[in-house]
């Protein structure tokens, strides 16, 4: 018997507001515990919430970008449960009138594009963080995260593999980044995915009992967890057992999941409308304004890069993985054209430098104007790639101007045949054994001699020309 895996994702994304959803506390990450709290977000009796307008704006953007139907009247409900991460004893969420329903997100599969349904998008507040010390007598609580605005984006169970779930999460992450509503950092918890997994015999139309997986802190962990859970369920069913509906925690070290608790039923949360908050009316005017402010979405960008800029799928995919890269790319191309060369530089040297400096793409302080001039110098053969790298480092570290730097340090590419010949002669004279080795059939020595001749000219020689002349000289016995 073959089995199908059915996956649905519940993605929580922290919205990038400066203040919390119902109070004026700041939302900075990584601050000392309990330093971003007030009576509202730590649940003091009598404290009253007031909704942050930006939360609705951001939620509207997400609904529009995912083709959801937007509710014209939305309300907030209390989801009641007792756990120390929730100081009020309830979480303010949306159960009855969420902001959006019935959208979609298109993913790429081996069989082409596939639309994944979005069941619902609702607004809620984040809970605090708990630290469980196995030795200690207490659980330590930090309420800084309490009241950070969240969107919960619930997909339909339309995904059929770990790969599809990964692509869905990646597409969603790109979308959220490009519309500017979240920084989507899984490692900092601003993007979290809970995964519902079930299996059923191929061809069956009935959904199997599902389990919910939590605590995956990276895309890779999520893929592993889904594959593990699917195998576990198939094994149980094959052996004649039954799947228990439960929540399971992914253990990154052991690469397996553990049952947490039998899930509480929806009615156990005893949802009811929050009497402290008024309804929000979202009229067409508001929706229209928000729609007009939406930037080009990453899918459209990707297509445009392929068709009008002639980039490869790989190039277009990398450049649309983060708005900082796409913005830099487009601003640079707007100045110097040469989309291929600019793409090559950003994907090569730019990202490599970010990697080495462990910084984000937008943290290198090089303007598109300067990058455009560097790319032009390289593309027009004025400098070698090696020189361009050297200039680029100076641009990052000392805000060097590329033309000026090349001029002052006399870095223009040397194309003069006499100069190049002289350098080759000097290198060959200094290394007569290598020359002899080459002529005796050791072809590899050539690279060494190229390097030596290049060194004579401080790496500025036209590499193609130098190569050609060296080869001619080596093949012509004295």
């Amino acid at each position: 018997m073959t089995w199908d895996t059915i996956v649905g994702l519940e993605v929580h994304v922290e919205l990038a507001t400066t203040s919390k959803i119902f109070c004026g506390c700041p939302t900075l990450f990584g601050r000392p515990p309990n330093t971003q709290c007030c009576p509202v977000c730590s649940g003091f009796p009598g404290a009253l919430p007031v909704l942050n307008q930006q939360v609705i704006e951001y939620a509207l953007r997400v609904c529009l970008a995912t083709d959801c139907t937007i509710n014209s009247l939305i309300r907030f409900d209390r989801k009641n449960y007792f756990y120390p991460d929730l100081p009020k004893g309830y979480q303010i969420s949306q159960q009855h009138q969420p902001i959006g329903r019935g959208g979609k997100l298109v993913i790429t599969t081996d069989n082409g594009d596939k639309a994944i349904g979005i069941h619902e998008i609702h607004i809620e507040e984040d809970a605090g963080k708990l630290i469980h010390d196995p030795q200690g007598k207490h659980t330590l609580v930090d309420y800084n995260r309490c009241g950070i605005p969240l969107l919960e984006i619930i997909s339909r169970p339309d995904l059929n593999s770990a790969e599809e779930a990964l692509d869905y999460l990646d597409k969603l992450r790109r979308l959220l980044l490009f519309i500017g509503v979240s920084d989507c950092r899984m490692e900092e918890g601003s993007l979290r995915a809970d995964v519902n997994v079930s299996v059923r015999p191929t061809g069956s139309k009935v959904l199997g009992t599902r389990t919910e997986l939590k605590n995956m802190s990276s895309m890779k962990a999520m893929a592993l967890a889904i594959a593990y859970e699917s195998r576990r369920q198939i094994k149980i069913l094959t052996e004649g057992g039954r799947i228990r509906q439960e929540t399971r925690r992914w253990d990154e070290n052991e690469k397996r999941s553990f049952a947490l608790r039998i899930k509480e039923n929806v009615e156990d949360y005893r949802y009811f409308p929050d009497p402290d908050l008024m309804a929000i009316r979202i009229n067409d005017h508001w929706i229209k304004n928000t729609r007009e402010l939406l930037p080009e979405l990453p899918d459209a960008k990707y297509q445009r890069y392929l068709t009008t800029l002639d980039l490869t799928a790989y190039e277009a995919s990398i450049l649309t993985s983060h708005p900082a890269l796409a913005d830099l790319f487009e601003a640079t191309v707007a100045i110097c054209g040469r989309a291929k060369d600019v793409a090559g530089w950003i994907m090569g040297e730019w990202l490599q430098e970010c990697n080495q400096r462990a910084c984000r793409p937008q943290d290198l302080k090089v303007t598109p104007e300067k990058l455009a001039r560097l790319v032009r110098l390289l593309a027009e053969g004025d400098i070698t790639r090696g020189t361009a790298r050297q200039v680029f480092i100076q641009m990052i570290d000392n805000q060097a101007d590329p033309d000026d730097y090349v001029h002052r340090h006399n870095l223009r590419m040397i194309r003069d045949i006499k100069t190049i010949d002289a350098a080759i002669d000097q290198a060959m004279a200094a290394h007569p054994r290598s020359v002899a080795d080459y002529r005796a059939g050791k072809n590899k020595v050539r690279t060494f001699l190229v390097g030596q001749a290049m060194r004579v000219l401080q790496g500025k020689a036209d590499p193609a020309l130098l190569n050609r002349r060296l080869l001619e000289k080596l093949n012509t016995p004295d």
Partner: protein, 101 residues
């Protein structure tokens, strides 16, 4: 017109369930008390159901106001340090009863 007052029935299982959701562990005497109190509360709600509301729009709030929003600005008029009494704090954290999932 008026609906008859139904006899609220709370069985011990329901008491246990509600107690569990509230993370309470009442003893037998407390259970009896809880049952009496909950039944009184339910009777009050039944009273609310006496009027015929078939043609009345439900209201969520006594005031019809909507769109009470504030701008996205940081305003912290409180010193968070004042919120935690030293008897329940440790290195800036709050100490809660040990919970392990």
């Amino acid at each position: 017109m008026n609906k008859p007052l139904p006899q609220p029935l709370i069985d011990p299982k329901q008491i246990s369930r509600v107690a569990h959701l509230a993370r309470l562990n009442p003893d037998e005497a407390e259970r009896v008390l809880l049952r009496q109190e909950l039944e009184r509360i339910l009777r009050s709600f039944d009273r609310l159901e006496w009027p015929d509301t078939r043609n009345t729009e439900p209201i969520y709030h006594p005031h019809p106001d909507t769109n009470r929003l504030r701008p996205d600005e940081v305003q912290s008029p409180f010193d968070p340090a004042d919120l935690i009494h030293e008897s329940i704090g440790q290195d800036g954290f709050l100490m809660a009863p040990k919970t392990m999932e």
